[in-house]
Symmetry: C2
Subunit: 340 residues, 2 copies
């Protein structure tokens, strides 16, 4: 029996905000496995802001997504056919299988492209969120760059998102004051009420930068010692003005500027005035931190102490629309696409 695979390829590069027609759905037969390969049926596709950068061909830290090839994306699924002694049918695995129903993984070489996970203690989808790349991103940026001491104030933007939610909870666990920034009353209520942040500033409720600055000031009466930045633009400008001397800013993302002209940083002189350290990072370059981070995150999710929320679109065909929504902040927590 020949299986049929559906996949999204990048059809064109966006000019400004991406549109659904930048992607093209293709249908093709799943090839036969050769020795050393397994076939994975994807259960979940992860949608993440970094994909926006890959759609462009500007200089960046990673090569652009090639046109007419399957869109890059993290995936979690199940082995449905195997020609390797290392993987059995029924194994749950995570990998970077792309925007498609099936993926073939080479597993008997030096660096297998998928790894087995335990989907009994932890839901399979969590391996794409709190116990996956977003969780490790939060863990690394907080520990290696923000490095907050008990009693210090940590601010994180996109606080209800897959990364931000973990940042704030880890900061609370370290005895810090955690202040989120999120868009909308519901997200802010969730950040404080369910995730346990001390405060959350709703940037959508601020009619202008001055109002946002005032709200942030109210939420950070002792200033800000560390910032985990996912947004940039007005958000980062406002946080920089609140930074205490010797503050640390981890630059994880700048989603505010992904679609158009770069947004300048209004007051770089604050780097000097407040003796700040600002550092950009890419979690995939910090492999040494992954085992320790994943162990801690898995323990937190297994016990229920580390909370997270998911927005799940159903069916591969929904992936482009869900991705565009993610870029506009329409998701609430980790954005996934459920494929089975």
């Amino acid at each position: 029996m020949t299986l049929t695979n559906r996949r999204f390829v990048l059809a064109s590069r966006p000019d400004g905000a991406p549109r659904e027609d930048n992607f093209r759905l293709e249908t093709c037969p799943v090839p036969e496995l050769v020795a050393g390969q397994v076939l994975v049926r994807h259960h979940y596709l992860s949608l993440d802001p970094y994909m926006r950068g890959r759609m462009s061909d500007q200089k960046s830290y990673a090569a652009p997504q090639p046109l007419d090839q399957v869109m890059i994306g993290g995936t979690a699924g199940e082995v449905v056919a195997t020609r390797s002694a290392s993987f059995a049918v029924g194994d749950h695995v995570v990998g970077i299988g792309g925007w498609q129903d099936y993926a073939i993984a080479d597993v008997d070489g030096g660096a297998p492209s998928i790894r087995k996970v335990d989907a009994t203690r932890i839901p399979l989808s969590a391996y794409l969120g709190a116990v996956g790349m977003p969780g490790v991103t939060a863990w690394y940026g907080l520990h290696a760059i923000c490095d907050p001491k008990p009693g210090e104030t940590v601010v994180v933007s996109a606080a209800s998102g897959a990364v931000g939610a973990v940042v704030g909870q880890l900061a609370k666990a370290r005895g810090c004051r955690a202040v989120g920034i999120a868009g909308g009353r519901d997200k802010c209520a969730y950040v404080v009420g369910e995730l346990g942040f001390d405060a959350c500033v709703d940037y959508k409720a601020a009619p202008d930068p001055e109002a946002f600055q005032a709200a942030l000031r109210d939420a950070t009466p002792g200033g800000v010692d560390a910032c985990f930045e996912n947004v940039g633009g007005m958000i980062l400008d406002a946080v920089m003005a609140r930074m205490n001397p010797f503050g640390r800013i981890a630059i994880c993302g700048m989603i505010a500027g992904y679609d158009g002209a770069p947004i300048p940083l209004a007051h770089p002189e604050l780097i000097l005035v407040s003796r700040l350290t600002i550092r950009g990072f890419i979690v995939s370059e910090q492999l040494a931190s992954w085992p320790k981070a994943l162990a801690e995150l898995a323990a937190g999710v297994a016990t229920g102490e580390l909370k997270y929320r998911e927005t799940v679109a159903s069916g591969l065909e929904r992936a482009p629309g869900a991705f565009l929504g993610l870029l506009q902040g329409k998701n609430f927590g980790k954005q996934l696409v459920k494929l089975v």
Copy 2:
């Protein structure tokens, strides 16, 4: 005999670029010494860009210079009267004596405000430059933040200045490619020909930011691994675009924006794209580094390996004009005022 002291006080805060009438020359008698004090006759007054920040009352890392009090400034001179067993008449000393001919120093408390220096091996004026605060500034920023490895490219702006000249020479001693940025053909010729930098970009020869960017590209064919930034504005924007992955930027000064509205940083997304680390610092907060830095710098000056140049204005009354010139880059090397 009663000595007469002349001193400049801050008469008013500048609105935009400082003017000579922001300072006021006063004449007053030198008070009698009490036990534990010495009287220092200043030979040299140091003029430094940080003084511009002190003239304003905006939030900064240091308290503003109070109005109607003697302007802050580093000084080198000679003890001319003493009521302390620790200092003898004729001792050469450095301190922060301010813009005046004489200063009284309390020396028998816990932290004497002056320290003795050896003016036989090293010219007295060098203790205000390469073997003083500017030299330690260069040493700290290069070692603690830029931390270049042999073969890496280090860029320093204001390269012929008191700080920049030391940065480049220390970078060369570490086996790096040193590239300066300076204003004017003479300064660039000095930076390469006398200080031994590998290249120097003349920003005054660039009619626009694109031309400057192109000249910097030519001077840094392998990109930039570390930047010691004294200027900000267009200079920093151009260097950021040349930074290699994992580059380091030490923010020591941003003189381009001192007089007016802050100059935005055009492309903060490069912090993420190039995974940069940017850190602002103030050398007076890094006291642990001073002894080691001063020892190394003194050895370099004593042997003649560490070169420097001075622009010396004669007479205290020239201090305001020389300071305004410094802010406009009219000095060539360390700006001093000779008082005797």
